[in-house]
């Protein structure tokens, strides 16, 4: 749904007396079914997610197919993006010895999450795909499976649990630290990874919608004073869009960085990860 249609739908609500007519946006703005209904409905976010994925596949293939020693402008930009993930995230977090194996996974995460986030400020979509909890959960499940799989493959099941507790602790404290680390590895990490991405996109989109709908209400339904106030409100909406662009990039970076750090923690030798 575009923002103008959204604003129109909100301002078309009957205005009550005494300035109580403004209806702040609710969480319903994220429920955008296209076909079907109930749990199996195809939503707008699903379609945009598919479009983003197709766009990424086509763009990455097209830009990397004719890679030359003297790069074209597109290849240069793609290499910049790739280098950012390869050197800035993977090599720094995982270490020079084993990072190359994980660069494809991390690059996929980074580009997919970045472009899905950017749908939040892309004029045609105007709704972050990752603002639906299902998408962050799916991304997180992959990270969860990968770092546990690596850890168990590397150290064995018993060794993996042993490696969670740092060496050199007094005996009586080991069960407590072990329990804490167990909770961290199996509950806190996946929970925060998914909720951080979801919460940022969700809250950011709510704030933008609130400012835009408030500005539209002030301009269309308000008196002279409210009409004048709609200018700073609209300006604030524009500022929030810019701020969201920053947050969307940052969250893609943070997700990739944390995924890399969890992988690095599972790869590390005993007690080496702290």
């Amino acid at each position: 749904m575009s923002l103008t249609a959204l604003a129109a739908s909100i301002t078309s609500l009957p205005a009550a007396e005494g300035g109580e007519g403004f209806q702040p946006p609710t969480t319903d703005i994220f429920w955008l079914p296209l076909f079907g209904k109930g749990d199996w409905a195809i939503t707008e976010q699903m379609v945009w997610g598919a479009i983003v994925t197709a766009f990424l596949v086509i763009m990455l293939l097209a830009l990397s197919k004719r890679a030359a020693v003297i790069p074209s402008k597109g290849q240069w930009m793609l290499e910049g993006l790739y280098n950012f993930v390869r050197n800035g995230v993977a090599r720094d977090m995982i270490g020079t010895r084993e990072f190359l194996k994980f660069v494809p996974l991390l690059f996929t995460f980074f580009t997919l999450i970045l472009f899905n986030n950017l749908m939040g400020i892309f004029p045609l979509a105007m709704n972050p795909v990752t603002g639906k909890i299902g998408f962050p959960i799916a991304f997180t499940l992959v990270v969860y499976a990968v770092y546990h799989w690596i850890g168990i493959k590397r150290m064995g099941l018993g060794g993996y649990f042993k490696h969670m507790v740092p060496e050199g602790l007094p005996g009586w404290i080991v069960p407590f630290v072990g329990l804490l680390e167990f909770i961290t590895y199996f509950i806190t990490r996946p929970l925060t990874l998914a909720l951080r991405l979801f919460g940022n996109m969700f809250a950011g989109h709510m704030v933008i919608t609130l400012f835009v709908s408030a500005a539209a209400y002030q301009l269309l339904d308000g008196g002279a004073a409210l009409k004048a106030l709609s200018i700073p409100t609209g300006l604030m909406a524009a500022i929030m869009v810019l701020f969201e662009a920053l947050v969307q990039f940052l969250q893609a970076y943070v997700f990739t960085l944390l995924a890399a750090s969890y992988i690095a923690g599972a790869l590390a030798d005993h007690g080496d990860e702290h």
Binding site: T192, L195, G199, Y253
Partner: protein, 67 residues
Amino acid sequence: MTGNLSLVGYGLSAIGPAIAVGLIFAAYINGVARQPEARNLLQPIAILGFALAEALAIFGLVLFFIK
């Protein structure tokens, strides 16, 4: 005026992570100002700390909707 008091509660609880994020980036800026060549080393650490502090605020947001 009608509303939910948990909104105010969430607003108050967001102060903690806000201060934490501010302290983390203040420390990062201090570190880079003292030693500009340490920037690449400090950046992921600062972002990691920021992400962990921010997670608390995000938990609050989600708990607000669960109620």
